[in-house]
Symmetry: C2
Subunit: 351 residues, 2 copies
């Protein structure tokens, strides 16, 4: 049985009813799903009761790794004993995978705002506070390594700057300490598209179209040149280009799962993100992707130059641009395995 | 008195009534504005009566240069005796400028579809046919040099492929023989934005937002990084990024002048464009701009490699990306002066 790997919190109640613990294959790693209310002091909205949702996989006592993805990702990284549906990062997380759930304890959480219930500006510092609340709730003293990709890298940087005593090392893939002004403009237009849809109560249509534009920013021209070289056609008196079927279907799938409010608030959140590079004092491992139009390598180099810690930068060339962390499975797997090697060895020595 | 340099055909009747021949300063070069109906065989709509509008500046007998700009450009390149309002390419066209109206006869025309009266697919071959009709109407046997920028370069390539006996040389700036699939996707989304606006009879709002997205494709991240580095702000509970005022004003100004139909049909026209490089057998001078996201240098190199003629390629690095032909006045002036030097010298010898 295959379920979509990117279910959002709205769809998760369905997923949980389909895959409760009793039905899960015994081979899947032990896991718990946590959900609780907590009052956070949001930067732009003050004291706010928020629903926090997390997932914790692997044996108690193993070194704790937190894994955070893009704004569309959720707490469910990979199939586990608490939820057998595929997660959004099956390629990297699981037994024998680079983020090895047999040797590590792996934590993730749903972004504040992802459930559409929080219609206020949210920023990455709020997300870092939410992660801290999850750690405290689970009585986890410290994240050994936080692996963050895209938005997860930004939240990881905020967490490192705010709570350095609660994190050992940060692996930040395709994310920087500030948004690039061109990428911000690109996102602002996506939000205006959603607003144009909302004007006529065509919310889903606006969200779908905004997602299409977002897809262009996640990918790079090389991939489009490979996949969509066919000539434009004329259908019913209108010109249609080769990428339109693909983009339409990306938009539709997304709009079935995401509410306008969640899209808008998480999109805004990227543009509110800003961390002083010099405030980062824990070891950093950064990945920059040539061709990434959202987190261009220059920005990641600026972060590396400005931070006050040991910092390693790797550069990857990928036709997938910003989405390389999802699409370049082997190269990203190497980065992760390398970053987690010491932890895994330490755990093997201990065991 | 200053009038907007980018008036479209809709606004030109107003401009003509403000600046008729009698009022024009005597120093402006002699010019005629031509307007006539002609039946064209449009590729996707068959025999169609079209209104053609052209402007011809300079002395009879001087070598004829045709100058064509982007989809938003029109026939009015620079102030002249028939229309004293500033044109869209004052920096390059006029007495003593690189396209020297004292030594050359300079022709331009309004794009088919720009007046919003033609709601059918239009392609660059149709535009080339329209240019031929203008030449025939004016009894001009041959264009010595055609200077085309952006869409004008595409139309120039079509003209060269279709009517090689009517053109001596083509200078094509920031345009290639085919659209890049990524740029086509970008335009398709602009058209979908217009359609979303039209759904609720908010045509102008859709056109304005589509133009904002188009602006991102015309420019490059470097310029945005220089101009819009300020942090995002929260206004009335919404996040606003630094480039939004600029983009909003670009969109508004554009939507005041352009109808949805004209925008859609000219945008489509770029995606229908395709010329076999090997069909180009006249001398070519190409300009590629590093950082151009619509006509990336690789595409222009592919054209240079595939064409069956003498071809010279220059490469310019510009933070203005595709808009370099408008913004890099000195560098573009050199390219034009160089390309037109032989013509000007020939004319001086004759005089």
């Amino acid at each position: 049985m295959t379920l979509n790997a990117c279910l959002t919190p709205f769809a998760e109640s369905l997923r949980e009813s389909l895959f409760d613990d009793a039905d899960a294959p015994t081979a899947l790693p032990a896991a718990q799903r946590i959900e609780f209310d907590h009052i956070l002091h949001l930067r732009h909205a003050g004291e706010t009761r928020c629903r926090l949702r997390a997932e914790l996989v692997g044996a108690e006592g193993a070194p704790l790794v937190a894994v955070l993805g893009g704004i569309s990702a959720d707490r469910h990284l990979a199939a586990n004993g608490a939820c057998a549906a595929p997660g959004w990062w099956e390629a990297q997380v699981g037994e024998g995978r680079p983020v090895d759930t047999a040797r590590l304890r792996v934590l993730s959480f749903d972004w504040l705002g992802a459930d559409g219930g929080l219609d206020v500006p949210i920023d990455t510092a709020d997300q870092a506070d939410a992660l801290l609340a999850v750690l405290d709730h689970l009585a986890i003293p410290r994240i050994e390594v936080l692996v963050g990709a895209s938005y997860g890298a930004m939240v990881g940087l905020q967490f490192a700057a705010r709570f350095p005593e609660r994190i050992g090392e940060l692996v930040a893939l395709s994310g920087a300490h500030r948004p690039h002004p061109y990428a911000s403009a690109w996102r602002a237009i996506q939000r205006k598209i959603v607003a144009l849809g909302q004007l006529q109560c065509a919310d889903a249509q606006g969200v779908a179209l905004a997602r299409q534009l977002a897809m262009l920013s996640y990918r790079a021209p090389e991939e489009f040149a490979d996949r969509f070289a066919a000539e434009a056609t004329v259908e019913n008196g209108r010109v249609r280009v080769a990428a339109e079927d693909y983009l339409d279907s990306c938009g539709l799938r997304y709009a079935q799962k995401w509410q306008a409010t969640a899209f808008l608030r998480l999109s805004e959140s990227i543009d509110l993100h800003r961390v002083e590079a010099s405030a980062i004092r824990i070891p950093l491992s950064l990945l920059a992707v040539e061709g990434d139009r959202l987190a261009p390598p220059e920005e990641i180099y600026a972060l590396a130059e400005g931070c006050a810690a040991d910092c390693r930068v790797r550069v990857l060339r990928s036709k997938y641009g910003h989405d390389a962390f999802l699409k370049e499975v082997d190269a990203i797997g190497e980065v992760l395995a390398d970053a987690l090697q010491d932890l895994v060895c330490r755990e093997e020595d201990r065991a």
